[in-house]
Symmetry: C2
Subunit: 327 residues, 2 copies
């Protein structure tokens, strides 16, 4: 049973970027250069980092959270929103809620990074903790039902994909003639949008999706031909730890992503270290996933090409970050 064909249009994406306006930063693109690039990826390769970790709220999640909330009726805005999140989506919803004067009651998983909890609170989000993702989704659904709040989904939905597609739109305007773009996949909301925009604007650009080995729901879904769950999430990239794919996101990825690859925790850590030294960026594991794919499973395949990496975000306390890049 497939969902009806879903596709984003350039008109929708452009309108979404316009609607987001100044509440969203057009995140800069920084070209990674230097001797290590040639050694690691191959001579003549151009690598463009889309620095979405400089986005408000510290990740791309602000785009879709804000777009979803902008499209709520005044009556719904008045009743408030809820969300379930390992962290970055909660911060984004809290940020968007503050921007629009909406109340946000957020469910965070109790293992959420302390910096994310703190950021969320600083934006005015009211937080409840859940034991795990299952309990959290259940509690958010309960809040939705009991309080009449709107659930802002962390990755599923056409509006969500349209929101993340604005990142792809910007990228294609910032860098011409890309040969490849590498996009991290958790639930796939980022990739669904970015891949759609890239295929509309630079159709010859190959889109790679990258998942952690321990959270590869999109791989399994592609193999099965339908959205699948995984039994257990086990990755240091907690921001990419979605336990399942969902239909709209799955379909947009299936139609617009050329190839999926997986990276190990060790490859993620190596990429974090390289980005600290070479790119001067302090990124959480998810933010290093595209680099990990470039240096790992895609090594050699993109030599001499024009490649964009989506550095999707970073929100992490110093102790955790230092431990991840340290021994």
């Amino acid at each position: 049973m497939m969902a009806a064909v879903t596709a984003l249009t350039l008109e929708d994406i452009t309108a979404a970027r316009h609607a987001l306006g100044q509440r969203i930063v057009t995140s800069p693109v920084h070209e990674w250069e230097g001797p290590a690039l040639s050694e690691r990826v191959g001579p003549g390769t151009r690598v463009f980092l889309k620095l979405e970790l400089f986005q408000r709220s510290g990740s791309f999640k602000a785009r879709a959270a804000l777009l979803n909330m902008l499209r709520l009726t005044p009556a719904k805005r008045l009743r408030g929103v809820t969300a379930i999140s390992a962290g970055n989506h909660a911060i984004a919803v809290a940020y968007a809620a503050r921007e629009l004067g909406v109340h946000a009651r957020l469910v965070m998983i109790k293992t959420a990074n302390p910096f994310r909890v703190e950021q969320c609170r600083k934006f005015g989000g009211e937080i409840e903790f859940a034991a795990d993702a299952h309990a959290g989704f259940a509690r958010a659904a309960e809040i939705e039902r009991q309080e009449g709040r709107t659930l802002i989904h962390p990755f599923e939905g056409v509006v969500t994909a349209t929101g993340t597609a604005t990142l792809g739109l910007e990228l294609c305007q910032q860098v011409t003639a890309l040969d490849a773009v590498i996009v991290p996949i958790g639930g796939g909301g980022l990739c669904a949008g970015v891949a759609s925009a890239v295929k509309l604007l630079q159709p010859r650009c190959v889109v790679f999706g990258v998942e952690p080995e321990g959270a590869d729901s999109m791989h399994r879904s592609f193999a099965a031909g339908e959205p699948c769950s995984i039994e257990r999430v086990a990755t240091i990239a907690d921001s990419l730890g979605a336990p399942y794919a969902l239909p709209i996101t799955f379909e947009l990825c299936r139609r617009n992503v050329d190839e999926l690859v997986r990276v190990s925790d060790d490859e993620l850590r190596q990429a974090m270290r390289l980005m600290q030294r070479e790119c001067k960026l302090a990124v959480e594991p998810a933010g290093a996933a595209a680099m990990a794919a470039l240096l790992g499973p895609l090594r050699g395949k993109l030599a001499g090409r024009r490649v964009a990496l989506i550095v999707c975000g970073s929100n992490m306390d110093t102790a955790t970050y230092a431990a991840l890049i340290g021994q």
Copy 2:
């Protein structure tokens, strides 16, 4: 005994930026936003980070190294260059030498960060190690004499200041109506140039220079009214560890810097941690010095203002960086 009055002109600085051309990146400016800014600095404050750590060679040093070498006669280029450096200047000279097809024999202090040594080698620099700064300066002078090479000074000289002034020129073009700019000082070459450019282009902008407590040669020189040495350099900001001021740099700073402040090692570490969490940047201590000044000695003074921080560079291996931001 004062040197003759030295001043840079806007014409010289603009010509220098033009001469550097595409060999130097116009480093982006990123505005630091988010709840912590308001808490730490005061509501309504705008903080613009000049991301010179994205410069080729990883620091601002590339600007002056390249400009100095562009101005060498063909005969001098053929005889090669030498330099003495704790690291970043050596990388910059190696980078510039490779760009211009010049041979570089570089003296690095043996405690130089291993990433800096590696970067320097990767750009083709030939390296000798010296026990300390004194021995290093002596050896570089010897190489200069014996081999007829040109010594590219790490901070002194009108051409050097004109090179670093191109950073100030860019900043003033990127951000209008600044109230203050905070510039790290080691030998003062960066500050001499940036302060000169800022006073030419935005004369109402207040220029603060920041030194580590354990390497405050410019403070002592300002107090004495002439360039002074310090007995002992003791700071985690090794890139700011110049043992003395020199006349041209001193005079340009004295004429264009409004106020000097000092930051402790602990303030530098705190600023590094904050930049990791809040700004998503992995910076060595020198790169965090301007932030440390904003949050430390200048705290409260710049609330509600438009402030630029010069994030002057970062080249550091992962283990050292992790240890500095960790416990």
